[in-house]
Symmetry: C2
Subunit: 341 residues, 2 copies
DNA sequence: GTGAAAGCGCTAACAG
DNA sequence: CTGTTAGCGCTTTCAC
């Protein structure tokens, strides 16, 4: 039975209904301290009958503890982030902590606003994508006094600690793998996102490693908005028209790479003999394509689990040891679009 | 400058630093009531210098108002839900409300837990996917006394109000469209998810409309887990091996339909002459496939915006009028896999 | 325009 | 094992 009134129920209501003090009711509801079986049952029954839902706001204020972990990511529409979330959730579900998501749309100012908003709820920890933030954001994070894990990237200096991969290194390794197969006229396609620092770093590492072998990117193309698959296809066509000599296409994500694959196949081009291609991210979705795309796993789930473990460990023991930088190692999967026999 | 102490800053700190009473500081920080320009500046300066972040927990407890809207969805890994979220966010960004996401993994008990957890933060409203919930969940929602919008589905009775499409109707309409093109040996493929009520209703509507014309599904196949694209491909192969006579394949989502398309094309089957196919959801991602898949738009963004508008309207004015059920109309897009010339 | 007092609903800390 | 007391940090209300 619910209350007729519109006023939400309080501990006092349960206390009165059960004839037990508020304090003891609170103990029962939180499973804290010793309470006799008889009292416990009386309380639970009363709470259930009333339909009481505790007020965490009051609880948090009184106990000075909030079991929330702020997770701040650029977007939900790129499957990478939901996958990281999965890793985080999986770990936090074993604890009493709960993730709360904030989305920044890759905008530093929005990140700042979201962060401010979330910190004002006094979470127990923060997991935030990337190492690049506004000064104000950095200051807030430092001043918050709670564990902060910056994820996805290790090329830089973390505020507190970081878990991710080196995108520069990832770019370099892909470049080396491509050169090793004897490709030399290489085209690059990616998103037009000056604020996607990880994509930028990958690109920098890529060109750097090519340069070391005296190779330069033959041509490049950037897109924004729209269906990535369609864009990948479109850009690939444009690029091949312009530079028919190209023998390799490197895409900054798997979805546009899949589009490129479609286009190459439609044109009846020999893959990977005449033209090779590779993407980035190892999206599970891509299995089932006519050819297995070469790609590089970004260790998304693992980043999530590791970050959550660090937060959880440090929340339980503020003096716990932890690594300042956890750099995971992404692996190239050659599929059948990169390795010439 | 941050405080040396580990203790988070309070209004009192800002008050002392600026020489203005806590009350007035609070007024400035919330832009409430009249404060002289001079005082305002002093306060803002002090707050900024200290790096003060307000404590919403205390604020919410005192004001009895929380600007959060709980959004409860089955999953983030199905792009449908991030798209609904976009619609919600777009609208709420214009207000002072903020969405907070909870994920249920399609499990009623988890939904119940998540709901309990979220309601305990006393949000201003709830947006929740589907019309099917445990009795306890329904009771909580009713007792909460806040606006509740059930989204995505209108086949049933909402607790408070609902915005969505009729999946039964969607299934029926697709069936009719298929029959109209003269297809008659129809295979169905979908997820093995007894708890995905919307997929179930679509299937029911589909078979019902076929039955009305004396047609029965020739064969069906369900999958769970793994890459949807790969599974779609696999199931399609299996199904065609088993029933080479099939002339139409209806898939419960676009991703497996895309896998099916790959398989049919690989087998060199004439589409849509020999075999037609259709999916569901109108995922933008699919543009760029070699053939434009027939599908049906689920009105995801619109559902999100409409739901958020209702919440926002009712939060601003508890007596505001609102429609109990908003049924949107999904449209079939024929692409080039359903319409025989 | 500004301030003082009185809680919001709960829990820490202590007393029994 | 149970109850009492005193806040948590802010906002409401009312007084000046």
């Amino acid at each position: 039975m619910a209350n007729d009134d519109t006023r939400p129920l309080t501990l006092r209501d349960v206390s009165e209904a059960s004839g037990v003090s508020e304090m003891t009711v609170s103990r029962v509801l939180r499973n804290r301290g010793d309470v006799s079986q008889a009292t416990r049952e009386k309380v639970l029954e009363a709470a259930k009958a009333l339909g009481y839902v505790p007020n965490k706001i009051a609880g948090a204020l009184a106990s000075q503890r909030v079991n929330l972990v702020a997770v701040i990511i650029p977007s939900l529409r790129n499957m990478v982030f939901p996958e990281v979330m999965s890793g985080i959730s999986a770990v936090l579900e074993e604890t009493d902590l709960q993730p709360v998501v904030g989305v920044t749309d890759y905008l530093p100012e929005k990140e700042e606003r979201v962060l401010y908003e979330m910190l004002s709820w006094r979470p127990s920890g923060v997991i935030i994508a990337g190492l690049e933030h506004t000064d104000a954001s950095k200051a807030m994070l430092k001043a918050s006094g709670i564990p902060v894990v910056e994820i996805m990237d290790t090329d830089g200096t973390p505020i507190d600690c970081a878990v991710g991969i080196s995108h520069r290194r990832a770019g370099r390794e892909m470049a080396r793998a491509i050169l090793k197969q004897g490709y030399e006229k290489i085209g690059f396609m990616g998103t037009k996102m000056p604020l996607d620092h990880r994509a930028r770093k990958r690109f920098e590492g890529f060109t750097e490693a090519l340069a070391k072998e005296g190779v330069e990117i033959a041509t490049q193309e950037f897109y924004s908005g729209g269906s990535a698959l369609a864009k990948g296809r479109e850009m690939t066509r444009t690029m091949l028209d312009r530079e028919p000599e190209l023998d390799f296409l490197y895409y900054s994500n798997d979805m546009i790479a899949a589009g490129g694959l479609m286009e190459l196949m439609a044109q009846g081009i020999d893959i990977p003999g005449r033209v090779g291609l590779a993407g980035f991210n190892g999206v599970e979705l891509l299995q089932g394509l006519p050819r297995q795309l070469a790609t590089m796993d970004a260790c998304r789930t693992e980043i999530g689990t590791k970050a959550a473990q660090i937060i959880s460990g440090r929340v339980n023991d503020p003096n716990a040891e932890f690594e300042r930088i956890v750099e995971l190692t992404p692996k190239i999967s050659y599929g059948d679009t990169l390795k010439r026999r």
